[in-house]
Each structure stands twice: as C-alpha cells, then as structure tokens.
Symmetry: C2
C-alpha cells in the first residue's frame, strides 16, 4: 500500500538546503512507492502544530529548478530540540497524514531528532522510516566527506576575500583588515577564506580557526611584525576562536560591555580585535563581518554543491525505497583527480550531536603539504556557476512556497 | 609634437574605476595624438613623489579585459587635498614627463584637484590639459545622470537584499534585521537596497536615507507596529542618517562610547539601531553592515556599468583630442525606453566640491509615482552580467599592475 512522505528542514539556512529538498521532491514524485509529498513548515515544530502542506504543486521540473536556485529554507526552519514527550504526538500526526517516510534535512542537532524518532518508531513498531539528509555551511558533520551548503559558502568566502584584498590595499598608509567568518566551533569556512594565501598569494597573512588556541598577545605581535614590511595586513578569523583556557576571544566585550547609556554591546570577535589593534598598535584598522551573506549568497553558489545537494536528496529517496531508516546520507570522496564522490549512508547515531573539527594533522597551516591538502580538499567543492532564471529586472527568481513575499512585477 | 598622457585615480574604490582607466588607456594608445600612457601610483600624491609608471604593457585587449574585471584601483588611491604650494611641483613633474593631458578619475574632491590644476595651467600658459572622469559608488556628483561604479554597487545591494530577505524570514519568531548601507551624505545606494519593496515586495518595509531627517522614536514605533502583523521587519538604513538637528543618528555611540576596558567603540548606525530595538522592543534583532563588499563585489558587477565606465574613459580621450580642459565627462540620459545615454562634458567647476542629493520630490517614498520613478531611474543601471576570465581554480583573474600579490598558480 502506497504511503505519503513528509519533508522537514531544520537549523540554520544555506544556499543548498532547498536543492536537497528539490531532490527529495523529484525522486519521491517519480517513485511508484509513494503518494503525496508533504512539507512541514518550520521543521519538526510544524509537524507538532500540523502546519503541513502538499508539495505536489512544486514537483514540476520548472518549479524544482526555481527551488534549487532559492537560498535559505523554503519551508522555514526551527531550532526545536525534541523530547520524549513529543514522540507520541508526532506519531499521531504521521498516522493522520499516512506518512511512510520522514526526511529531515539539517545538521547535527537535527540528526538527533532523526535518531530519537527512529528509535521510537522501531520500538513501537509503527514502521515509519526516518532519514536524515545532511546540511550545514559549517561542514562539521562526521562521516561525510563534506556537507551540502559548505561548498557554496566556501566559494563565497574564497571569492569575496579575493575582492576584499583588492579593496584593502589601495592606500599608501599602513592598515589592517580583520574579516570575521562563521563557524563557532569549526574552522572549515575560515580555511576557505584563507585559501588564496595557502596557494601562494600574499593575503590573508593570518588565518585563525577555533581548533587552534588563539594567543592574542602573539597575534598582535605578528600583526606588528608584518606591518614593518607590508602596507596591508589581512586576517581571516573565525567567530569561534578561543584562548588557551577555552574561552571565546573577546568574550567580555561580546557579552558584558556597556556603552555610555549602559546598553550592553554585542559585538563579534572581528570588532574586538579591531579595537585591540587600534589601541595597542594604533594603525588604521577595519573589521568586516561577512554575516549572513556567507550563507545566503545564492548568486555565488557552487554548481557542484547544488548538483550534489540535489543528488543526495534523490539518493535519500532511493534509500527509503530500499527500506532504510535511522540513517543519514553521506558523501564519500572516491577520487581527487578527477574529483568524484559516491553517495552512501551511515547510521544516524554516528552523526547526531557529534561534530567534525578541522583535523589536528592540519593545524600547522604554515606547512606546505598541509596547504596542499587543504587546497585539494576545498577546491573541487567550489566549482561551477549556476545560470539562474531571472525576472525581467535581472533578479534571480526565488520560489515562494509560503506565499509571504507579495507579487513582484 | 606628440605628448604623453598621465592617468591618476583618487578617492574611494569601486568596481568600475579600473574600467574607466582601461577606456582611457585603450583610446589614448590608439590615438595618433599621444605617445606614452603613464599612470601615477596613488593619484596626485604619486605625481608629487614621481611614482609614475609606463602603462604600455597593459594596453593589449587581453590586459584591458582583465583590468575591466578587476575591482578597486589598480594604481592605488590617495585622499590628498591639493594646495597652491603643490602646483609648481606638479607642473615640473608634468614637464619632465612631457605630459600633455592629465586624466583624473575620482569623485567631488578629486574634481577639485582637476579644477585647481586647470586654473593654474591656464594662468601660466603651460598648455597642459586636465580632464576629470567621474566615479563614485555614492552617485552624488552633480550634472551627470549617474556615476560609473554606482550601477554595480546598486546591483549588489538589490541582489544581496533579495537574499538577505530570504535568510531573515525562516524562523517563526518575531525578528528585526537592520541593514546598514554606505552613503554618508546621500541615499542613492539605500534606495537601491529598498527597490524590492518599492516594486511591490513586502521587504524591506523601512528605508531610511540621509536626505530625510530620521525620527528615532517614530522609527521604533513603526517597527513595533509592523511586528504586530509581521514576523520579520527588515530595514535598509543609510550609514549617514541624521536626526532633525542634523546630528548623525547614534553619534554618541559611534564616537564616544567606551567598553568595560575603557576602549572607545566605533560602531555604525546599524549596530546602534540594533541595540535600541533590543532594549526598547526586546525582540530578536540583527544588524548587518554590508561594508566594503558593496563597493568591491566585482562578481556582481553590472555589465552596463562597466561598459559605460569604459566608454566614458574613451570619450575623455576624444575630448582631450578636441582640446578640452577643465572639464568632467558626464552621462546624459536621452531615453528610458529603451534606456540610452550620451556622453557629454561639463565645466569641472559645476562638480568640484559639490554634491547631488536624492531630490526632494522623491522624499515621499510611500508615493507610488515616486517609487515608479526610482525604479525607472535605477533598473537600467544594474543590467547585465560580466563573464569574467577565470583562473583554473574558478577565481576571476585580477590584473596586478603594482606587483604586490605574488604569483598564484
């Protein structure tokens, strides 16, 4: 008897989540095993509140193509952490909608939801399959070679740093630029921001990731030293760098500082280091926070990333057809020359609540062989340009499943 | 007797300055009137210090194409304000290099340099021609319909806001996003950031430009009111908004606040409004500073802007051949349907040290006819994609005239 399927999205946005969703919709719509493809608004929270919509109107190739080029999360997201009390309610919703497979697209927290639900459904014999599809710009999911969304954000950082470098070195006076990059616990994205230097370019001279304890005094000395011979010093710094005690750098400023009105300031490590450089070195300094642009810049998406995101969504449906449950789909890199991946699966318990740091063997970023390995790892993930469908003003057309954007001409 | 020409770049960077420089190099190299094409490093400061290089190696179509796709300023820039004491020294340099025409590419301050030098050369009969080529992302130069560089920055803002909007509305909780945009004195760029709303889109609901006094209390009330019916409120705010007294909004914070260590904080109006919203409204709020990305993002350049930038550089050489001096080249828009411009010239005294604000007749941004006019003005300037020449890693190749970037593979 044919069952329906349900898709949910969870965690932070990226440019590739909707592409994975498009892959699931495409494969499930083409499958003889499934009836209606449903989507839950705002992830598992929307399952509980029964904010569930029929995605059939979006299964044409035309709509799927628009969905693939749309950044962020077309069904909305949530940050809900599931508890055992939620399980029976979710089961009831799944029964009412006759759901046979639940696809959850998200990061390590979302995979905990997959794990919990799978165990519950197995224990009570409900037969619902639960399948995780990875996503996170942070690239910090274990087992998989990389995560959908990471390649596009890495490409944004590599290309944008290339431009910021040019912008920074036009004046003949000494200056320092601190670029703050996302990644609270892992430095994968910051490595992408540093790639030009690793490949023989002058900039950015300093690359700081959370996995390597940050010595603020040593950093300021390094900047001072560099300024003796160079006009411009550019630093790519992860938002999550920590000192030797494990405390976030500039934490006091970020959480406790007050302005003249007694307001609490919330600034990132980039601004903090800017202030330290201004005070301790006294040169011209600017901090740049790449903010949400590094996760939503669909105009600079990696074609490879989007293609793979679609494929891993399709593969998740194949896995469901084969009866899989309690798994997350993963990429295995089978070759670097030429770059090739195959899609496999892993038990979701290998991923849920776990994180993959930049490996220790890469911590000496001045080592040429490390730099070569980083380059070999990163470059293939960033390749290719998407040719988006545009409206008549030139703007890429984004699909508006939730109907919250009004009609534009 | 054939003379040499000299090019200088001045003021802040944009993605189109090098394209104008390419236009000058191309036309001057092809002209029978001129010998060597020289470039001054760091603008007029480099003239005084005789940091002058021969640009002949960059006159091939291949090199010019790379120069056109390179953001910022290939010769470097300066912010030097000329004084009468500098005039004779500059004249001596021009004599030594046998300069017949000096092309200065810059904004209103740079046009003051053009004005001063032209007057001096006329008075003492040296015969050197001085010609201004406009550039500024701010679009605040009088007489010309628009300035090279503005279209690309406007396009960056229009497209990036489109993506930020998607990124902002994924969670089911109320939130506010404040996007800070460049333009200390004029709101042209912020209008581009607001274009999606002017064209019937929901976001950004609030657009604030320096030309319209900013009522902070009214702004907070408007945000509060909007949050009653909408989950997400997005504000596009110029860095230069001022209150009814003419003071920059959040000036105290920007210039005087100290953190717990006694350090002075330097934050923009976006961060200031974020803090006000957090404190007075108490909802989730994020500020985004688009920083230098809005002026250096060559990957999102407007083809129209770059093409016009080249043309106005070429036209400047034609004007020089015709004997012009003490002028700045300008665009005259001759038609909107289809969009067409012709290139003309104006006496540089009409531009030097003057600014063009967003006109008062556009101050009622809620008026549909105003919105239509803004749209008609802005859209043609943002059209077309550049297909850059890329290196084998996929990165657009930037020309490195000053030789400061090391060889990359």
């Amino acid at each position: 008897m044919k069952k329906n399927i349900l898709i949910g999205l969870s965690g932070g946005p990226s440019t590739a989540i909707n592409a994975s969703m498009a892959g699931v919709i495409r494969a499930a719509s083409a499958s003889s095993r499934f009836n209606t493809v449903y989507g839950a608004l705002h992830g598992i929270a929307g399952v509980l509140s029964r904010d569930i919509i029929d995605l059939s109107p979006y299964s044409s190739e035309e709509k799927l193509r628009l969905l693939i080029q749309t950044p962020a999360m077309a069904l909305g997201s949530c940050r809900k952490k599931l508890t055992a009390a939620d399980w029976p309610a979710i089961e009831q919703v799944f029964q009412d909608y006759d759901i046979g497979v639940f696809f959850y697209i998200g990061g390590n927290d979302s995979m905990d939801t997959v794990l919990q639900l799978d165990r519950y459904f197995k224990e009570n014999g409900s037969g619902v399959q639960v399948i995780g599809v990875p996503k996170t710009i942070d690239n910090d999911l274990p087992v998989t070679d990389h995560t959908p969304g990471f390649g596009s954000s890495a490409k944004y950082l590599y290309h944008t740093m290339h431009e910021i470098i040019r912008d920074s070195e036009i004046y003949p006076i000494k200056n320092v630029v601190v670029v703050e990059i996302m990644g609270r616990n892992s430095g994968w994205l910051t490595l992408a921001a540093g790639l030009e230097h690793f490949m023989g370019g002058v900039y950015p001279q300093i690359v700081a990731i959370p996995e390597i304890p940050f010595d603020e005094f040593g950093f300021l000395n390094q900047v001072k030293e560099l300024l003796k011979t160079e006009h411009t010093v550019i630093c790519a710094v992860s938002e999550g760098i920590r000192n030797h005690n494990g405390d976030y750098v500039g934490m006091e400023t970020k959480s406790g500082a007050v302005d003249t009105f007694g307001h609490t300031y919330l600034s990132g490590v980039g601004k903090y280091l800017e202030l330290q450089i201004a005070e301790k070195i006294g040169c011209k300094v600017r901090s740049i926070e790449l903010n949400v642009m590094q996760r939503c810049s669909a105009h600079l998406a990696s074609k490879t990333d989007l293609d793979e995101a679609v494929q891993i969504g399709e593969a998740a449906v194949s896995a469901a057809e084969a009866g899989a449950t309690g798994i997350m789909m993963v990429f295995e890199r089978t070759s670097n020359h030429p770059y090739a991946v195959r899609i496999a699966q892993t038990d979701v318990s290998n991923v849920a609540n776990l994180a993959k740091d930049v490996p220790e063997c890469w911590h000496d970023l001045s080592d040429q062989s490390v730099r070569d390995e980083i380059k070999q790892y990163l470059l293939p993930l960033m390749q290719g340009e998407l040719e988006p469908i545009r409206d008549k003003t030139g703007l890429p057309v984004f699909l508006d499943i939730r109907g919250i954007h009004s009609t534009r001409e």
